[in-house]
């Protein structure tokens, strides 16, 4: 398990740096920029009032934009969709990527159990996601002392904890789908569809209350974003983590029962012994 963990983590190192540094750079730009917005508060409020109410509702209460939590939330609200691309691609490719290319055959021919391989790779994926979040958090926190956001590093960590829970859920969803659907690409597409639909339905449900029923079934509705700086909703957080764990366990069972495909194989039949 240790070998597979290190090996997978090594393959993910580019993703950790790429995604982590990109989001950190966003933070390095956004956090100091809050002061500029705060200074222009009156003029911007007048501008926002001239926008259609429906548009404002889609993006949430824009009058909160000038509070530290509201400012952060405006930008962090769409991060799950962006970083979700990593989660969906990483999760769907964790096993199915090597399987479809035929590489898993050689790995599983070594004296390594399927359980050890599965959890070794899973642990590497989780640590990679944590690494991306940690670098991102650092980028958002490093300039806090010189801005008017008046926020501690600890408070700034909270939105990224909620984002981590979202990423793990989408990653595990993509992983489980990759072991049911005939191809990694299809699994990534299906999980990506859930990701985007979840974001839009959650946002649209602020305009159309009838959509609340559907939006409540999707992960984005339980994403606190920047509002998490005021305190984590632990029920949401642990609910998302529990759902991720269930999907991971489902994927593990599917992988144990699965016929390992050789390159080019695929089918709609559910795997079974």
């Amino acid at each position: 398990m240790g070998t597979e963990f290190r090996y997978t983590l090594n393959r993910f190192r580019g993703q950790i740096l790429g995604w982590g540094l990109s989001i950190a750079a966003l933070g390095l730009f956004l956090v100091p920029f809050y002061d500029v917005f705060a200074e222009q508060k009156e003029g911007l409020l007048q501008l926002l009032e001239s926008y259609p109410k429906g548009l404002m509702a889609f993006f949430g209460d824009m009058t909160e934009f000038f509070s530290p939590a509201g400012y952060l939330d405006t930008y962090l609200s769409y991060l799950p969709v962006i970083v979700g691309i990593f989660a969906v691609l990483g999760g769907s490719g964790l096993l199915a990527g090597d399987e479809e290319s035929g590489r898993l055959d050689l790995v599983l021919a070594q004296p390594v159990g399927r359980t050890a391989l599965f959890f070794g790779r899973l642990a590497a994926f989780v640590l990679t996601t944590v690494g991306i979040m940690a670098i991102s958090w650092f980028g958002f926190s490093v300039t806090l002392g010189s801005t008017a956001l008046e926020m501690t590093w600890g408070q700034m960590a909270l939105p990224f904890i909620t984002l981590l829970a979202q990423m793990l859920l989408y990653g595990m969803l993509a992983l489980a789908l990759s072991l049911v659907l005939p191809s990694r690409r299809l699994a990534a597409s299906a999980a990506g569809l859930v990701l985007v639909a979840s974001y839009f339905l959650s946002s649209l449900s602020r305009i159309n209350k009838d959509l609340r029923v559907v939006a409540q079934l999707l992960p984005h509705d339980y994403y606190q974003g920047g509002k998490a700086v005021a305190g984590l909703n632990l029920t949401w957080l642990f609910g998302l983590l529990a759902a991720s764990a269930v999907l991971a366990l489902l994927a593990w069972v599917l992988f144990l029962r699965r016929d390992i495909r050789v390159s080019g194989e695929g089918g709609w039949r559910l795997p079974g012994r």
Binding site: L108, P111, V262
Partner: protein
């Protein structure tokens, strides 16, 4: 000489959806032998080998690899086996040595690197080269090295010489013979019948998921039909030869005849002694011809001839 089979398969069934791949395969490989596994594409060779390593799960039947059930003890089985996949795919973000060290670590690091370097040297494989720069043949060499590097008790090789040039094919066959000399058992599939004939003691022929023949290579060839061409000094009535047991007249000319003979030649030779024979040529079929006989008008039911 050990008596326990290195590999034992009984009544193995495996289907992919509605497509049957193995239909009650029975097979036994003795310890310390080299057994060639012949069959065309889709006959079930790769499916059989992948079942042995628990990469795929059979629908029915029993398998014992070195006395172990691969589904119950997959790690123990794989620790004692070396495997070369038929469709070898390698990571391309590392070097040959990087991949071999990774696979070695999956084996608990119990690999003798002096032996790895020796294998690489014999196959003219540069351990420092990035995998992405390797040709198909060189990638195949990597596959051969990783299968042999931990000196396994049982080698399961799916077309081990595929993509290699003739010199390297010979070197790989030599490595297999050496492994056998050191006590290993070798079970390999191949399309190249001449190499099976060259290296294997026994051969199994699989057709449509069933074993249709299992015999010593020499016995299989010996047992098969031979073609005999006889030329006479004068015109003879060769039709009389058609009545001999196991003899069929393929073509007859005034001073010559071409016959097909199955079994012993004794009766034919005694009959020919009555005529003035100028020349007699006997062509023993290659294993290739024997093999093709199973697929070109051979027994459709898969019965052993």
């Amino acid at each position: 000489m050990p008596t326990e089979a290195a590999l034992s398969i009984q009544g193995l069934f495996k289907s992919y959806g509605r497509v049957p791949a193995l239909r009650g395969l029975d097979l036994e490989v003795k310890q310390g032998e080299i057994l060639g596994f012949l069959g065309p594409n889709g006959a079930g060779k790769t499916t059989t080998i992948r079942c042995l390593l628990d990469l795929i799960r059979p629908d029915g039947g029993t398998i014992r690899v070195l006395g172990l059930d691969p589904q119950a003890q997959p790690v123990a089985v794989k620790a004692r086996c070396g495997y070369l996949p038929g469709e070898l795919a390698l990571q391309d973000n590392t070097t040959v040595e990087g991949l071999l060290r990774y696979l070695s670590r999956l084996r608990g690091g119990r690999v003798d690197w002096t032996y790895v370097r020796e294998l690489a040297g014999r196959l003219e494989l540069d351990l420092k080269r990035p995998l992405k720069n390797l040709s198909k043949g060189n990638k195949q060499k990597v596959g051969v090295v990783q299968a042999l590097m931990h000196r396994p008790e049982l080698l399961l090789l799916d077309e081990p010489t595929a993509g290699l040039d003739p010199l390297m094919q010979q070197e790989v066959l030599k490595l297999l013979r050496e492994a056998r000399s050191n006590g290993a058992t070798v079970f390999f599939s191949s399309h190249i019948i001449s190499e099976v004939e060259e290296v294997a003691e026994r051969v199994g022929i699989i057709r449509q998921g069933r074993l249709v023949e299992m015999a010593q290579v020499a016995a299989l060839v010996h047992r098969a039909l031979r073609r005999v061409t006889v030329r006479f000094r004068e015109t003879v009535d060769a039709g009389a030869l058609a009545g001999l047991p196991g003899v069929t007249v393929l073509s007859a000319e005034p001073a010559g005849v071409t016959l097909q003979v199955q079994g012993e030649m004794d009766g034919l030779i005694k009959a020919l002694a009555a005529w003035p024979v100028v020349d007699m040529e006997t062509v023993r079929p290659s294993l290739e011809e024997v093999f093709l006989a199973y697929y070109q008008g051979g027994p459709a039911s898969g019965e052993v001839r």
